[in-house]
Amino acid sequence: MFFAQVAPDSIVTPDIAWTALVPHLVLAGGAILMLMVWSLAGRWLPRWLPSMVTAAVGLGAAIGSIHLWRRVTDADRGPFSAVADSVGIDGFSVFLTVVISLTVVFAALLADGYLRRERLDGPEYHVLLLLSAAGGVTMATANDLIVLFLGLEILSLAVYVLAGYHNRRAQSQEAAIKYFVLGAFSSAFLLYGIALTYGATGSTNLVDINAYLRSTVLVDDGLLLAGFALLLVGLGFKVSAVPFHTWTPDVYQGSPTPVVAFMASGVKAAGFAALLRVFVVTFGTYADDWKPILYALAVATLLVGAILAVVQNDVKRMLAYSSISHAGFMLIGVHAASADGTASVLYYLAVYSVLVIGSFAVVGVVSGTGDGATTVGDFAGLGARRPWLAFAFTVFLLAQAGVPLTTGFFAKFYAITAAVDGRSWALAIVAMLSAVIAAYLYLRIMIAMWLEGSDDDAPIRVPVGTVVVLGVAAAFTIGFGIFPEPIVDLARDATPALVNSP
């Protein structure tokens, strides 16, 4: 009786368009199902099964997005929102959903051999991976700042744990703590930014915010601008833009290598999804206010990433700093705030994810048991010891350096085009200079691999899952490097839209 007084007669629950949530449900449902099955029957299941199941779930989520892609690119139906306008399904979100899902597939395949080598195998890694991907997909499809924050937290909490997954390695623990403390801090910034934006516009729904900003001239926009700044801090942390990057090298160096591969691809994709949707799409009318800040962020990110990458001696740290520099290239696309700019970021994310996963796949194999042998010297003579492994790594490094006929070149080219199209020549020049500086770092690794000898002849075991990842990634990098058109077209079709249900 007591409860009856408090509760309303009926709670109005929103209609849920389950079909729109297929990727979310597959990822999250897969995670929960796995946790249950393995806690009940784990001891009877083979050790390779978790990573296979995870890869299958990731693939399932990607395939489950195809019908959404058909629907949103269909001229008659187009983008739509679901679950009381909190989830927006458009080409943009579907594209990133597929990217994030596929990074899960790769990360799972990499983890198989790695976890068994480090004797960490079990379903927990995979469950966390799937949950974080579900969070990432939620971010990519968020149509509401609160949902965005929820997605970010689901993603982040799982990745904090993954960073510390190697429980016998002090660096891994350190990475987890560092990532967690700083990440929690940045989440607070983001949340505060959301609160201020709500205060300024009266809504957390992106469509409403956009409509409000379009139709209203704010006499005093201090609150809104403060909201922008705080949102940018929170999201800048996730995409490791300078000056919010300081966690990146330490966390990348300490975390288990397959986790790093996921962090640099899937997590980054989710971060850029949020950045694009919030700033370019929602706050598009205020572009003049936030563009200068992004300009400065992009320049700093490009240069600091490239310069600090060159002076490192640890390959994981090098790749961490180079990933910062690559984030700078993507920030250029964000700064352009145009259709081409958004498409260039999407293209960059898709191809860079493959590159960075491939790179860390090689690092994870070479680092050896204990995951510690990651200095440049440890790569010496790899060309003689494992020519194909060294060849694959060379492909990824050359692509990251932006050598033509690889996906990396076209990604840079497209980002530059977006910048020039927006008349930001200085930004384009800074970007290319940073690419030259960073090239030195990739050359250093290649010199070690091909031109230096090594007296270390310990066998390097390459697990089957890693072979598959390397093969697919290298073929992707060269194949779509020579014929970039299919992915360019997909990225151009993946336009973001702001729609609420009528």
Binding site: K412, L433, L451
Partner: protein, 547 residues
Amino acid sequence: MPPVLLAEASFPVIPAMVLTPLVGAVAVALLPRGRARMAQPLAVLFAVVTGAISVWILGDFDTADAGFQFVSEQGWVDALGISWFAGIDGISLFLVVLSGLLFPLAMVAVDPGHDHKAYFAWLLVLEAGCIGVFVALDLFMFFVFFEIVLVPMYFLIGKWGHEDREYAATKFFLYTMFGSALMLVGIVSLVVLHAQGADVDLTFNLVEIAETQALATNSARLIWATFALAFAVKVPMFPVHTWLPDAHTEAPTAGSVILAGVMLKMGTYGFLRFGLYLFPEASTTFAPLMITLGTIGIVYGAVVATMQRDLKRLVAYSSIAHLGFIVLGTFALNTEGIDGGLLQMVNHGISTGALFLLVGFIYERRHTREISELGGLQKSAPLLAGVFVLVMLSSIGLPGLNGFVGEFLVLVGAFNAHRWWAVIAATGVILAALYLLWAYQRVFHGRADGENETMPDLRFKEGLVLAPFVVAIVFLGVYPKPVIERMEPAVDRLVAHIETFVDDFDEPVADDGAGTGFDDIEVEEHDAEEGAADAGTPTEAAEGGAD
């Protein structure tokens, strides 16, 4: 402006020329480990096929046609207006042929010593890249090839080079990448501004952009600067030449031959094809600067070459001087200068390529490049000494050998355009005689002692490799007409193009029009045009030549 003729090829020779070496590279790389000895013959086979195609192109080339021939076009990334668009005209023809012929010779000439498979695979990739640069008529495609050649060359220097190879390879890669990085921004800016200026979709089509000239003067000048920097590094021009001595010296012999023979020409060719053609106004504006830098390069390269103790480094610095001549001729902006520059590109490829081969042969025998440790080789290796003399004289520019024709035309062109620069540049010819003859004296004359006394002479295979060089040196020296008459229409068209689009520019010709003194090596059409130049305004004459 007459529309540029684009003659389609009956058979896709250009794709075949680019793809053959690539297929070869894959085939060589996939040879089973035990069959590594097969790498060289297989690679040479593919290179010879490519060379044969280039010779076929030379034969099938329509001399009278000033436009692009053998054109092949194919969409690539339609959304951004990028396409595979390739063709050959008189400007690129001989560079394509030079690449086609130099590669098989360089492959046969020297044995890399280790890792044969990778070595020959990289050389074939390099060949595809080099040919691609010279045939590309799409800016994106050009940049792709321009940049991709860095990778094989980097590995060739880094893995098969001499002592300081890693340093030299890295320096080479970063230096050239720095130059072209800004050019990428320039290319994209050019394309975007062209699309806005001409109100068309994005297109990377060179001919379309060049013939429209939709850019504002200042934008064109700034973009020209990015192109010029990339080409200047590649040439290399003073003061961005410092990568060259290291790269040339440390590269394996075949690498040096290709670097000097083909890759340096990418810069000078770039100036012609992209600098002058795309930016006529900016090119004329900055011509004095380029001529000054070219002249400095001539004198500087020669002086520094004189000081060298390392024979290979000496040849490397002599390249800087020779390429200064090419830049000088190009930016004289008249038919003689550009003709001479083009001819000099081919000649330099032949002479310096042969010089690097000879130095490589000496190094293989004596394992040193120090001039002071060599001496009296004339006695132990008379044949090698004989070929060296001929090649050296061609490099100095002795009349009757190929080097003379090019340098002479360059100096005539430069004299008509900027008299005093030509005078200074002419001292470069004297200095060339100084450093090369002096080097020859120290290496081949005198008393042979120690190992110098017993150094074996040229082997049969080496002689066979050098024979084409010798033939070319003499043939082009005595009878350069077949080469010049194929270059001439395209060069005339280029000069006319500049005159059309630059209001106050007339082709700098001799004041009296007659006293140039090279009529005997000119072709008829040009004589007629010279006559017209006497009678009418130079603009009309040049346009008449382009029709």
